[in-house]
């Protein structure tokens, strides 16, 4: 294996890893605030890409940037509506009810996509097409660099917002205890809806970078959802730094794993990673064990 090939795999793995990180961050965000495993996360991502690429870009000829922004806005709206109408009422219910609710949402989205856009897969070359960057004689897809840069920028901004702004502080407080937040006079439902919408927007952005590599079709959400969960699990459930680390670990493992077991089982790498990590170290790489309270 030449050095150039190795570098290419490394870069594309990092680009994928960044994308998985965004998905995983969204899942962690929803888990920490709304306290539900969002099994519709991948499907919401798919919906966003369909809206941007197939509906606005192909259908109406909008520029790619405008259609992306519009689809993210629609995703945020879907998130807010779903959070206010469904999650708000299921807050007191057992976790399973909420899980089934998100799966129901996923089912609705997938089939709505098929009904609206048909089951045919679509291709999308990304924001920058096939343009290559040549660094020291090694060719790298510019799209990958962009993905990496956008991810890093988003992570930085998010970290700063969470740490230094009032909104960030409130969200962090709610992650510890929505009940206490409510007692402190915070309009909890509004913030939870906001957090849910934000998490979905992250997924939407991730989707725009993942689709140029895979095809866009309605089953995309399943595969991406798995990988997001794998990243979350690897990093330790509910840990934000863990999700970031986990995303990159999953990306790299997938890059390497594909070389070993073949591309048939590309999607199984993430699933196997989940099982192995959970059995070997249930609290993940950066997670801490929970103490039983009595």
């Amino acid at each position: 294996m030449s050095v150039g090939y190795a570098v290419q795999i490394l870069v594309s793995s990092l680009a994928f890893g960044g994308v998985y990180t965004l998905v995983a961050l969204g899942i962690v965000f929803i888990w920490r605030t709304v306290n539900v495993l969002n099994f519709a996360h991948g499907h919401l991502l798919t919906l966003g890409v369909y809206l941007a690429v197939v509906w606005l870009l192909r259908g109406y000829g909008w520029p790619i940037w405008a259609s992306t922004c519009a689809s993210l806005a629609i995703l945020a709206l879907v998130g807010i509506v779903f959070s206010r109408t469904v999650f708000e009422r299921l807050r007191a219910q057992p976790m399973l009810s909420k899980v089934v609710a998100t799966m129901g949402l996923g089912l609705i989205i997938v089939n709505a996509i098929v009904l609206a856009f048909g089951p045919r897969p679509h291709a999308f070359t990304g924001f920058l097409g096939r343009r290559m960057l040549w660094i020291g004689g090694v060719g790298i897809l510019a799209e990958h660099v962009l993905a990496f840069g956008v991810t890093a920028g988003l992570l930085l901004v998010m970290g700063l917002v969470l740490r230094y702004t009032m909104v960030g502080k409130i969200v962090r407080a709610l992650a510890y205890s929505p009940e206490v937040g409510g007692l402190m006079g915070i309009p909890v439902p509004r913030y939870l809806a906001g957090a849910f919408a934000f998490a979905i927007v992250l997924a939407g952005i991730a989707g725009m970078f993942i689709v140029p590599v895979t095809f866009l079709d309605f089953t995309l959400g399943d595969a991406i959802g798995y990988k997001g969960f794998a990243a979350v699990v690897v990093g330790g459930f509910g840990s934000i730094p863990g999700a970031i680390l986990g995303g990159y670990v999953v990306g790299l493992m997938e890059g390497l794993g594909t070389l070993v077991v073949g591309s048939h089982y590309r999607d199984a790498v993430a699933a196997a990673l989940i099982v192995v990590v959970l059995l070997a170290r249930p609290s993940g790489l950066l997670g801490a064990g929970e103490e039983e309270r009595l």
Partner: protein, 346 residues
């Protein structure tokens, strides 16, 4: 006859049912026996059989999820092991039918024990994700290992090799009765488990696992049994599925299918055994009534799940609870004065 009656009453009271409800069940089963005489289109009969097969699977899932509180997003794996196991053994190895079925159900049971082991190491969200990953791995193996599973085209069992039951050709009418008997038997078994010492331990673990262990319940073994029961029902369901359709393919054992099973028990009410059957019939048969809008069915299913969750958090099984309240004698409630009653003698 005079002696038989009290015995019957005692048997039904062992399974924890009120007399009226038990009679209702008997009437339902009797009606079920007559259905093949009314429905002459094999296709519709097969839909009903499929609903009953799903009822068996949902019953098992309810034991792990609804009764014991161990989330399982991979019930399709157990069903797949039951169906694929018996298909592979009879078709590829020409093993006798009984042995294949036994082995397949055993395989599902062993996988269930593995799940039980995992559920003793992992809780809540971790367990959910692990079971989902198990389902994905199963699906990928079933679609890619063509030499074993026939790949995406699956395994078809030709007419000739279909097992004979007491020399009777197993057409859909006979299968209907086989599945009906299995469902009734497994439902009664489920009730026996639910109202036994083990069933109480299940529910104690669901409501508060730590306290259950502190009150003397071996929670490790209890969760193990719950998962084994779940997988056993799933495996049997898989065998019945094969019997009904004589065909298995990976597309029947996806995570989506596991979700449908979950939807059945959620619609029927978590922990509500008869509700599982109601839910299975709802999810299986309603699409057939809605054939005009076939493409929309999954959207309708998703929406109706959301609606039921929001409107009836305890599931449609509340109908049964309501009926049993009508049937049950009104208890004369003693006024609670709140006092300890020490025996006067000491």
């Amino acid at each position: 006859m005079r002696k038989l009656w009290p015995r019957l009453v005692r048997v039904q009271s062992l399974a924890g049912a009120t007399f009226g409800l038990a009679m209702g069940g008997v009437v339902l089963v009797a009606l079920g026996c007559l259905v093949p005489f009314w429905i002459h289109v094999d296709y519709y009969l097969r839909v009903l059989v499929y609903a009953m097969v799903n009822s068996v699977i949902a019953l098992g899932l309810n034991f792990a999820v609804g009764v014991t509180g161990q989330i399982n997003l991979g019930q399709a794996v157990f069903v797949g092991l039951g169906a694929y196991g018996s298909a592979i053994l009879t078709q590829k190895l020409s093993a006798p039918w009984v042995a294949s079925v036994g082995t397949a159900v055993l395989a599902a049971g062993i996988m269930g024990a593995a799940l039980g082991w995992i559920s003793n190491r992992l809780r809540g969200p971790y367990l959910a994700i692990t079971t989902l990953a198990m389902n994905l791995i199963f699906y990928l193996v079933a679609s890619h290992e063509v030499w074993l599973t026939g790949g995406p085209m699956g395994i078809r069992i030709p007419r000739l090799n279909v097992p004979r039951l007491f020399g009777v050709e197993l057409d859909v009418r006979v299968v209907y009765y086989v599945v009906l008997v299995a469902l009734v038997a497994l439902f009664l078994l489920g009730r026996l488990i639910y109202h036994s010492k083990v069933g109480r331990a299940f529910r104690a673990v669901r409501d508060d696992e730590t306290v259950a262990s502190l009150m003397g319940v071996n929670t490790v073994r209890t969760k193990m049994w719950a998962c084994v029961i779940c997988s056993f029902y799933g495996g049997v369901g898989g065998v019945l599925y094969l019997l009904t359709f004589r065909f298995v393919a990976p597309s029947e054992f996806t995570a989506l299918q596991s979700f449908r099973y979950l939807a059945m028990i959620t619609i029927g009410g978590l922990g509500n055994l008869s509700g599982s059957i109601l839910g299975a019939f709802f999810v299986t048969t309603v699409p057939e009534f809605l054939r005009v809008v076939q493409g929309y069915w999954d959207v309708i299913l998703g929406s109706s799940i959301l609606l039921i969750l929001l409107l009836f958090p305890k599931g449609l099984g509340f109908v049964r609870d309501y009926l049993s309240q009508l049937v049950r004698k009104k208890e004369v409630e003693e006024r609670w004065t709140g006092e300890f009653r020490l025996p006067r003698a000491s």
